[in-house]
Symmetry: none
């Protein structure tokens, strides 16, 4: 079963709001086996509405629309659809009473706009809206279905979840859909594609593979569509085995999970704590960790040591090391990590020191050079990276690389302890 | 001038990502006088790409596309467009060298995928991508223009801002558009709208006003479209005077400028330095400050004191105060600020202590309660805020409120000194 989504509203076309309805609807529709093959955002005009519907029903049997159902003059979806499907607008007594009651709560009387809201297209299927005055309207002709919903996200979501999705799932013949995401850290998209070339070539045709890159992380997504759930699951399991064998610990999660969440779960599970000593990441690692609710259970604090004086005075980095090797060096970053472990009193500490850019690079240490260290009470490891020329990207990639080093260290410590 | 936007990618259609590119592009295009009359999101298939282009160029002369330009097999936009416009793919030596150089930095050799990336359609206009390997391609036929850009947001934004928008603005006949943004801190959208009610009612009809709220900040945007630049400018100047009289120091900038940039300019101008001592903001203030290039000139470091032990040991907060008043108190936050000034050695320090949520609230100190202090060597001020119930929002609003307190303090110190 294929569908299209049409969202109506000038505010989308001037970029004043981001259309988040479509993504939400797509995800929900995919989950019940209805795939979305096109999303169109159009303006509040009769021409745009009619032409987009005609195009959509020429391609698919099901069209879901949101928007343009408000009480003001710029909202013309109901009138346009009723004309298009040759339905007369008639008063819905139940809806009229409901609107009257809602208005009474705000001590407002019925006016022409509200009376208009109580009209519904005769012959269309009307699905109630528990949180607003504009109901969902389902028009059908020649096995083509056009369903119009209000654009207010929580009204639309409520209509879909509590009423529409169950009906669609029951009345249409939908296949089973399975998505499996694999989160990979530390490999660029093209390098990853090369590594996976042979594996990818042998993928069963039912598996659709997508690479979804963001700085420092590539999300690999396998999507399968079929009738036999257990068969699809078996195929995915098998392919996951192959991926694990190739990528090993480059994979940090099998859900669409952030690495800071993976770190959080590991630390909570092992009852360990972490701190950070940040130079080039400038507090971003602390920010990422503390963005998650409940982080005080495993995160104690950070020292953002942007100047050399703070590296020395708060973290206890040797001033000779700073002079001899420079702030961006293995010696200094290791002392920063060890210093943070002690000063903040945690089991693990992550330290970063690098040249985020755009200035400050040298021949020997170009912009993007970052040293990262992980310390425990009795051990410290470190690694040098060269990321990009772009400041924001370097900060983000260094943060992710630091978390990934910590993840591997925690897992290895676990392994060594049997 | 009218345009359409087409975004390509199955990840949009399965709802894995929200298409934020379109809204950003629409806003930028509107700003140079190009209106967007349709946005279409389609899948990575040849049929979908070709049919959506054909439909779009039947309605408008300019089509901007993003996505499907990666090096992997699922990305087919370049091949499809080149076939459609009958352009042969030829190697671009400059691009080849650039890709080789990029790869060399990561110590990676050229592979088949990367070599493919160096191919460009002969006859199309190629606009460089400074942050990635997929350039922007501009195809033209019979005065219809189709421009394809990578879907990675920061690559697309850079291409548009630094190269494409200036070209579009110059080569197409666009009306003069004037936008004036006013950045307002510390007032919710509805309260601001109420305060500005009378001023808004008297606005000349040529001025289109938009409220663009984000947590802690409302961007007010006046947009004027016309032929006479100086006339539009005079109207805006006049309205700005009115706004300043009403909002005073609630306005922190007149460009679309971030508050951390405003702080940076002030500190650089006065040759002063700042540090932060963060509890509930968890490093976000340090992160925001260090996101800006050149921040080491005025930012020395931070202590993220998430646990009480760190507040005491690193910032020197009195343990009796912690016990008597709790971590979220005027006493503690003032000691944190004073402690950071000393420990990090800066002219100013901002400290935050609050309950970000979702847990940890009490009757007396509900989730969203935040104490913020600003200290200098001989002075400390503090203020209590109650923000929202949402963690991310509280972190962001507390950070902005702290910066705004610092901004006002620097301006007042300046005023007192004559």
């Amino acid at each position: 079963m294929q569908a299209e989504i049409i969202t109506i509203g000038d505010e989308i076309l001037i970029g004043q709001i981001v259309d988040t309805n479509s993504a939400w609807m797509s995800k929900e529709l995919n989950a019940i086996g209805i795939s979305v093959n096109r999303i169109t955002s159009i303006s509040d005009t009769k021409d745009a509405i009619v032409s987009s519907i005609e195009e959509a029903i020429s391609r698919v049997d099901l069209v879901l629309m949101t928007g343009g159902l408000g009480p003001t003059n710029d909202d013309i979806t109901k009138k346009t659809l009723s004309d298009y499907f040759a339905c007369e607008l008639v008063q819905d007594e139940g809806l009229y009473a409901k609107i009257e009651e809602r208005l009474a709560r705000y001590k407002i009387g019925m006016n022409a706009f509200n009376r208009e809201q109580a009209l519904v297209p005769e012959g269309a299927r009307i699905i109630p809206n528990d949180f607003g005055t504009a109901p969902c309207m389902w028009f059908s002709r020649d096995n083509k279905h056009v369903i119009s919903m209000p654009g207010v996200p929580f009204e639309m979501k409520n209509i879909m979840q509590s009423r529409l999705l169950p009906i669609l799932s029951e009345e249409f013949d939908c296949p089973y859909v399975l998505h499996q995401t694999v989160m990979v850290q530390g490999l660029g998209e093209s390098v990853l594609a090369e590594i996976l070339q042979d594996w990818e070539a042998k993928l069963p045709s039912v598996v659709k593979l997508a690479y979804l890159p963001s700085p420092g992380v590539v999300r690999l997504r396998m999507s399968l569509l079929g009738d036999d759930e257990s068969e699809l699951k078996a195929i995915v399991e098998n392919q996951l085995k192959g991926l694990k064998a190739i990528l090993g610990e480059r994979i940090f999660a099998f859900d669409d999970e952030k690495i800071e969440q993976v770190i959080a779960n590991l630390l909570l599970d092992k009852k360990k704590t972490v701190s950070t000593a940040e130079s080039c990441t400038g507090g971003n690692m602390a920010h990422m960790l503390t963005s998650m609710a409940g982080s005080s259970a495993y995160f104690k604090g950070s020292v953002v040591a942007y100047s050399n004086e703070v590296k020395a005075s708060v973290l206890g980095v040797n001033t000779n090391s700073l002079e001899e090797f420079g702030a961006v060096s293995q010696q200094v970053v290791e002392q920063m990590a060890t210093g943070a472990c002690k000063a903040i009193g945690t089991d693990y500490a992550i330290a970063t020191s690098g040249i985020a850019g755009p200035d400050g690079g040298t021949e020997e240490k170009p912009v993007g050079t970052v040293w990262i260290a992980i310390a425990t009470a009795d051990k410290v490891i470190s690694e040098k990276f060269v990321f990009s020329k772009e400041r924001g990207r370097n900060i983000r990639m260094a943060s992710l690389a630091g978390f990934n080093m910590l993840r591997k260290m925690i897992l290895n410590v676990e392994k060594m302890m049997g």
